[in-house]
């Protein structure tokens, strides 16, 4: 599995987006996430199970100007 264009070494069966967020310690609120190019809503992070060949992108939503 890829996370932000780098191999994610801790993939395992049943891994969810929420699991990656917690494991990688994305502590800031407001993330924008896509799996294989498709946007995933925050409400679905605990439910989306990642496959071994999935491409996950996680971005922070910014507010600075």
């Amino acid at each position: 599995m890829m996370l932000n264009d780098r191999p994610y070494p801790d993939w395992h069966e049943g891994l969810t987006i929420q699991g990656v967020i917690e494991h990688m310690n994305f502590t800031w609120p407001k993330l924008v996430t896509k799996v294989n190019g498709q946007l995933v809503w925050p409400e679905d992070y605990p439910n989306v199970v990642l496959a071994e060949n999935d491409d996950l992108k996680i971005h922070h939503l910014l507010a600075g100007g």
Binding site: D5, W28, P29, K30, L31, V32, K34, G37, L39, W41, P42, E43, K57, H59, H60, L61, L62, A63, G64, G65
Partner: protein
């Protein structure tokens, strides 16, 4: 002044018809800081007919590193007044209106109603949600731009959605974000992102190319990489969805 926009006239996607649209358009820029300065400069140079500037702040010395409209002589002066003076010197045909105030739920509907396009160049989520909600209410395009350190993002939200609450509903996640005063930013980063916002405004006005309507571009200027995500209305969104 016919030569002024010659490079637009000879651009097939703009031409004289497009330039007329640009000159007839009204754009409101909310926030005249790091992002708002390049947005305003680009739109005035391009010949946008009417521009509103909203900001309640004064120019500080620490702004000069990235807020490229201002000079050392502007320190201590209201941003909208300093910005308007510099912009009028660049294009006297452009009408510039100054709103030296905060936008609020009390004033934003009337204010936004006078413009065609709303550019979000603010520095905090509270104001951004207010802009987003009002743009959905009035069906106006919300040209979103934001920066942090070496990173930025641009999107066109609003009209019928998706909106900012589709991406993140503050009612469901109330954790604090880092305030603008506490973050570093490379001086050139708001110039890049602000110019991208201005480019999207001009493309939107003339209908050129593939707009960022419903798409967010993520810019990493440290590694010089770009990513984009197609957005859609979140069915849980309390503003434009059914939530």
């Amino acid at each position: 002044m016919q030569e002024r926009y010659h490079r637009h006239y000879i651009l097939p996607q703009v031409g004289r018809e497009g330039q007329k649209k640009i000159q007839n358009s009204k754009v409101l820029i909310v926030g005249v800081g790091g992002l708002g300065c390049p947005v305003a400069l680009e739109l005035v140079a391009a010949g946008v007919g009417t521009i509103g500037l909203v900001d309640f702040d004064v120019v500080e010395e620490s702004n000069l590193q990235r807020q490229i409209l201002y000079t050392e002589q502007d320190v201590g002066k209201p941003k909208v007044e300093a910005a308007a003076r510099h912009l009028r010197e660049r294009n006297s045909q452009c009408k510039i209106y100054c709103i030296n105030d905060k936008i609020s739920p009390e004033n934003c509907v009337q204010l936004f109603g006078e413009y065609d396009i709303i550019v979000d160049a603010t520095d905090n989520f509270d104001t951004r949600y207010l802009i987003s909600d009002t743009c959905i209410q009035l069906r106006k395009p919300h040209v979103y731009g934001a920066i942090y350190e070496f990173y930025g993002q641009v999107a066109i939200l609003g009209t019928d959605g998706p909106c900012l609450r589709c991406l993140s509903d503050p009612a469901k996640d109330q954790r604090e974000t880092v305030s603008a005063q506490k973050i570093g930013v490379l001086g050139a980063v708001p110039g890049v992102i602000g110019s991208m916002q201005a480019c999207e405004v001009l493309k939107y006005i003339v209908g050129a190319g593939e707009s960022l309507e419903g798409t967010m571009v993520f810019v990493n200027l440290l590694d010089m990489t770009f990513d984009r995500i197609a957005l859609s209305k979140n069915p849980h969104c309390p503003c434009c969805g059914k939530g």
